[in-house]
Symmetry: C2
Subunit: 492 residues, 2 copies
Amino acid sequence: MTETFVVVGGDAAGMSAASKAKRDDPDLEVVVFEKGEWVSYGACGLPYYVKGEIQSLEALVSVTPEEFREERDIDLRTGHEVVDVDPLERTVTAEVESSSETVVQSYDHLLLATGAEAVVPPIQGAEREGVYTLGSMSDGKELREYVARARTEESFQQPDRGPACRYLEDCSGPVGVVGGGYVGIEMAEALAENGFEVHLFQRSDRLLTGFSGATSDAVAEHLREQDVAVHLGSEVRALAGDGDGGNGNEGGRENNDERTDGAVRAVVTADERVPVEMVLLGTGVRPRTALAEAADIELGPTGAIATDAYRETSVPDVYAAGDCAEAIHTVTGEATYAPLALTANRHGRAVGQTVAGDPTEGGPIAGTAAVKAFETEAARTGIIDHEEARQAGFDPVSETIDAKSRAGYYPEGGTVTITLTADRETGRVLGASLVSEYGEGAVHRSHAIVGALEADATVSELENYDLAYAPPFNTTWDPVLVAAKVLSGTVQ
Amino acid sequence: MTETFVVVGGDAAGMSAASKAKRDDPDLEVVVFEKGEWVSYGACGLPYYVKGEIQSLEALVSVTPEEFREERDIDLRTGHEVVDVDPLERTVTAEVESSSETVVQSYDHLLLATGAEAVVPPIQGAEREGVYTLGSMSDGKELREYVARARTEESFQQPDRGPACRYLEDCSGPVGVVGGGYVGIEMAEALAENGFEVHLFQRSDRLLTGFSGATSDAVAEHLREQDVAVHLGSEVRALAGDGDGGNGNEGGRENNDERTDGAVRAVVTADERVPVEMVLLGTGVRPRTALAEAADIELGPTGAIATDAYRETSVPDVYAAGDCAEAIHTVTGEATYAPLALTANRHGRAVGQTVAGDPTEGGPIAGTAAVKAFETEAARTGIIDHEEARQAGFDPVSETIDAKSRAGYYPEGGTVTITLTADRETGRVLGASLVSEYGEGAVHRSHAIVGALEADATVSELENYDLAYAPPFNTTWDPVLVAAKVLSGTVQ
């Protein structure tokens, strides 16, 4: 009898699972429910779409719905929102957007790939007009439309918006970006490169809190060089609007900030009130777990859906993968939540292989991530934060080095700054944070450290890695080796 | 009593050892004999000096003789050629260039860091005027002078030297480069970028024989796009000269090719006779072992000086490191000869640490290497060649993939071509060869594969490496992971 594999959610994890399962077992019936119209899209590309470097949302789609249906023989049902999972009956119930009807689908294997949603922080005025998030394709579309509209409006083109304005002769805004993580930084770049005066507000005293302080400082300095106004240690208290009597009108603040109707006009922190025409909230994501919770599927300590090594949840034959699920950390062996694209693809694919009859672990994750900020690139992997390392039972020690990215005599080149963290007692490499000029290789160099983490290598072992060398690519000792050499003098 | 550490050879291995030993044990007396005047120089930078991208030979020197003497308190004696090692008496004898006197120096520890020398193949006419090699600083100086001279001579500036001429309006030469390894390719670039019509002759049917065929083909294609005439399968039989009656004079060939006086005027292979004004021999290097052999120090199977894991030779307290010595291969565990800068630095440093009282292994080497060829970059590591793998007891299997270097929708990017080799039975990664456009990351991506080799990882493990991803740097699955994914379907 034909088995049925049902997937809830048609993005990276879901479509990877569906495709792999069908390819490995063509007899399997594969049904995917996706509540929206877009499937298998590269959400990581949205900032570049808003920026204008990518011309259509369609370009972000790696495989179209038609291709999934016709070439891969997957029963992909877009516009279907799954509203209930019944593990006892082994059914899911979906509402059909176009007809308001309800369909019930039975399954033998079920994958929850419901993803994550942008967190809208409990800031007064967060629901005002002109306040955006960037999680979905429609978010991207709205932001691109905003940018295009603003750039054509005469009233937004003012000769001088101050030092934070990137192109004085064609400056729109100002605009506010709340949150100094990947999305906040990528959107700061996207908006600044379109001529907006950008104010970036970060609650913490540094950007990119998952990276090392040295990386954070380098990125903040570069953003400022690019005329982004970086407000650190700036918790946003309210997004004030039209009702408060106009941009930056100090007199009207106390009376009218309570009103939350009307378009956003200012970002208000404890220290300042910055006039803005638009606000982008890049304050993180949280896993979509409502369906799982309603079906009594266990969540883990991180708040995401708990799974075993095969991504199976507490309910047999129900799997969870991607941004809605936990994973195991390469270094600590403990549950972690790091919603990133590669994990979603890999774990989804592993589930597909498993339900097709070949049990496959997707493997642990090291929390590796990369970001470009204008002409700077940065990467991080493993555990860098000492408090986090101590909680995992390590005695962390770090060193930060600056090294030339190419031979000193080579005509091109820059600086790679690496923070490398290890356990003092065992010398085991725990993590690293790297930053360099864009093109000088901080991100690809992190590959070496990921290799060390995957192998539980010590700093001394990493120091002996026989990495490629030629003058146009590095110094004889690649910066990674320099970092290991310096740190190996500290551990033990 | 003060011990004495004597080093023969003042380049990477020798000066790394001397510096590390003196730093770790300031009481040690450290004496370095260097027959030339240059020490601690980056020979890898010579092609870029000849090319004109580096303005002085001094720029290639990382630490000057004065700094070694005054800041590091090393008794560095340039212009001293060691002509004898007496292990029984524990002395070395050096001839002083300036005075023709002889000095005898006793040692407690001795390091032979005599390096390698360019191989001049037994080609008729190889000693003609206008035939160069590129091994030493003085070779680099001569070549640079040649280039500068040629570029100013009216007679070399001809309007059209044919399709291989890079800049028709300012074309010198033609010149011949014999050998399609790193030096040959880097010098082909250096000469072509100076306006010479360059003919590259390679005995094998492909360039870069240590790399995969896919890499070789990509580099050859790119060289041809850059108007270098690449002659594959072209063993050079003779370098003909003035005496043969002029450039390409067919009639005079048989009579006069026997004469080897006069300047070089043509490269002669079995198939053709190519007129040239100059020839660069880039036909590899061999270890300088004469001193060791005279002292009855054992050579290994590769012909280089044999050592143990601490670089100690068959004679107690005599070490060998760098381009004159063997090393152990990461993958096979067998002796190998791969004279490269990082190994020399690392093994020299380890010897310094050892003689200062802290026995240190320099570690095995994976034969990792990188090369830039115009706007292409390539790297290789481990074992790629199937015959070599079989001799080491493996059952090799390889896959070659083309993958996008950045997200498909990202405005920039190119293609990374990776050949990945593994053992069929165990799945263990054996080696890889990577090539991409310059700047698209083939070289730094090889870091991930080195990490896998150092850890004896399988292809499946490599496939699960949590590598950094963001659209400006790769696809969600980095090309390295794509290669592992494809190959893991082949092994087992």
